[in-house]
């Protein structure tokens, strides 16, 4: 199944010897981006009469036809509620839903299907851990450690549980370039630190944090670690066992999948011991008016009828990514990221925000004193979609003493033409505001 998709997405291996000198040449045979783009119907839809240049992949990615078809096919041919029907349609739907769980498990190299909890979003995954695990382990004066570059979704759930338990929330600072201060991290990690929650790839700065070594340090202090992988998940391989992450949260819609479906990976022994997050159907094994025996993992954390179509769509998105291969996709994006960085650096008065080495996918910038929202509006007139604002990271903006940035973020289907269009668009912004 994936082989056929791979034939579509990947051009014949280049015959010139020069191509063989590319790193990981076998895995990164040039992506046939034109063929890949044809899998995304929305990319053929003009915006304001111009071809769509979609550079807001950090907010959400576009969806390939295979994902759209998977959701639609579910409703057309397989729709039934799961885990309860004795009739064949329900059993088919259950099988598809649970197969999606296996697809997710394999994608992040988890050990067992029951460690994959379907949620509504990465945000809900984090809230689940904060509310359930947090209430279980946090006592007054305990410490929750996050970083200064977290998305609001990895700040506010911890504030809520800190307020309820009397725990203290602290943040690891980062440098002007957008690198975490790892010395401070080690100092802030104490035997009082119960939970560490940190972002894998920053959605506002593009920084990739050294999560594996940070997890190891946290474990030495006996802390449990949640990684917010929402931004990373579509940009490189994730191996939760190699990272030794205790929890790993991400969403479907930033990885070419549908909105409304998210994933929480958790180590089985932690999830097993945690109290339920929400009560309802599906999460129980028996209920009387007086008491309830909870269901086994993963269902204990999946109260109510889940987003069945979303899970199936997410599995289709993972099939799509696998059809390209994450190493090939990452190589394509790296090439484009380097090209974008060098072209943007040549735009007069453009300042890139976040200059840590080894960044990926996300380029935040300021253009002289032109407000990012003006940049966004003018680019939109040319069919170019970029995000402008604080990117749900107000503490990052405060730390850097700015109120907003413009942000271009890359995906599998982006091309050098997209970057050229962005740079031309920025030239027109500059012309409009020139004194």
């Amino acid at each position: 199944m994936t082989k056929r998709a791979a034939d579509i997405a990947v051009a014949a291996p280049p015959s010139k010897p020069a191509a063989a000198s590319l790193p990981h040449a076998a895995a990164t045979a040039q992506l046939d981006v034109a063929a890949l783009r044809r899998q995304f119907p929305i990319l053929a839809k003009p915006v304001h009469g111009k071809p769509l240049v979609y550079l807001d992949n950090a907010a959400t990615t576009q969806k390939p036809q295979s994902v759209i078809d998977a959701e639609s096919d579910y409703y057309q041919s397989h729709n039934a509620n799961i885990h309860r029907g004795v009739y064949s349609l329900s059993q088919d739907a259950t099988a598809l839903h649970e197969r999606a769980r296996t697809t997710v498990r394999r994608f992040i190299h988890a050990a067992e299907d029951r460690e994959i909890i379907f949620t509504r979003s990465a945000t809900e995954s984090i809230n689940l851990v904060a509310a359930s695990f947090g209430s279980q382990v946090l006592r007054k004066g305990d410490q929750i450690l996050i970083t200064g570059m977290e998305h609001h979704s990895n700040i506010v759930p911890w504030q809520l549980i800190a307020q309820r338990t009397g725990a203290i929330l602290r943040a690891v600072p980062f440098s002007d370039s957008g690198q975490l201060d790892l010395d401070q991290y080690e100092k802030l990690l104490t035997d009082n630190t119960r939970i560490v929650a940190l972002v894998h790839l920053s959605n506002s700065l593009g920084t990739i944090n050294p999560v594996k070594s940070m997890i190891e340090l946290a474990h030495r202090q006996g802390a449990t670690v949640l990684i917010d992988g929402a931004q990373w998940i579509a940009h490189g391989p994730t191996d939760v066992r190699d990272l030794d992450a205790d929890f790993y949260a991400f969403s479907g819609h930033k990885m070419y999948g549908p909105t409304g479906i998210g994933v929480l990976y958790g180590k089985a022994k932690l999830l097993d011991a945690m109290p339920p997050y929400q009560g309802g159907g599906d999460m129980i094994s028996s209920v009387t008016i007086e008491e309830t025996t909870y269901n086994d993992l993963p269902y204990k954390f999946e109260a109510g009828t889940p987003n069945i179509a979303g899970a199936i769509g997410l599995a289709a998105a993972i099939d799509f990514i696998n059809s390209i291969g994450l190493p090939r996709l990452a190589a394509h994006e790296k090439q484009l990221f380097d090209y974008a960085t060098s072209r943007l650096a040549a735009v007069p008065n453009l300042r890139i925000i976040g200059t840590a080495p080894g960044r990926a996918a996300v380029i935040s910038f300021l253009l002289g004193d032109i407000h990012p929202h003006d940049i966004g509006t003018i680019l939109d007139g040319q069919g170019i979609a970029v995000r402008t604002g604080h990117h749900c990271c107000q503490p990052v903006m405060d730390r850097l003493g700015i109120s907003a940035t413009a942000r271009a973020s890359l995906g599998a289907y982006n091309t050098k033409d997209d970057i050229d269009a962005l740079v031309a668009g920025l030239d027109s912004v500059i012309r409009m505001f020139a004194a």
Partner: protein, 159 residues
Amino acid sequence: MNDTNDLDDLYQDLILEHTRKPRNFRDMPDAARHADGHNRLCGDKLRLYVKLDNGIITDASFKGAGCSISTASASMLTDAIRGKTVAQAERLYADFHHLLTDPTPPDDCGKSLGKLAAFSGVRKFPVRVKCATLAWHTLHAALAAASAPDSEPAPISTE
């Protein structure tokens, strides 16, 4: 919507000119009243000052940082209300609001607004309406506070 002509309507020369050189861009320590406005979407923040004499606005100024639409709007507002009575300024506030947000604004509101009618192009950009109206909401708060001088106005948010 939002084709090249719409963009030209939005970023009219008059608006761009006020963006580049905002008028009355200064603090006013002896202001009768001031109020703060904040547009969280854009991060626009401004403080608007008014000086009053017998119900007449004798001076107005602002300080803050924002996008071109919010800056130009605050700049043109401070020019427009000087010499007006509080009632006349409130009328401008209402007309400006109609111009930007009513599906069918009254015919006469463009006339009463004079140069401020330059902001009519913002109508086609719904997410930017709040940028243009921020200064006006803030003025409204400052004037309301002026009529109840013992109360400190709460910051205005256009979100």
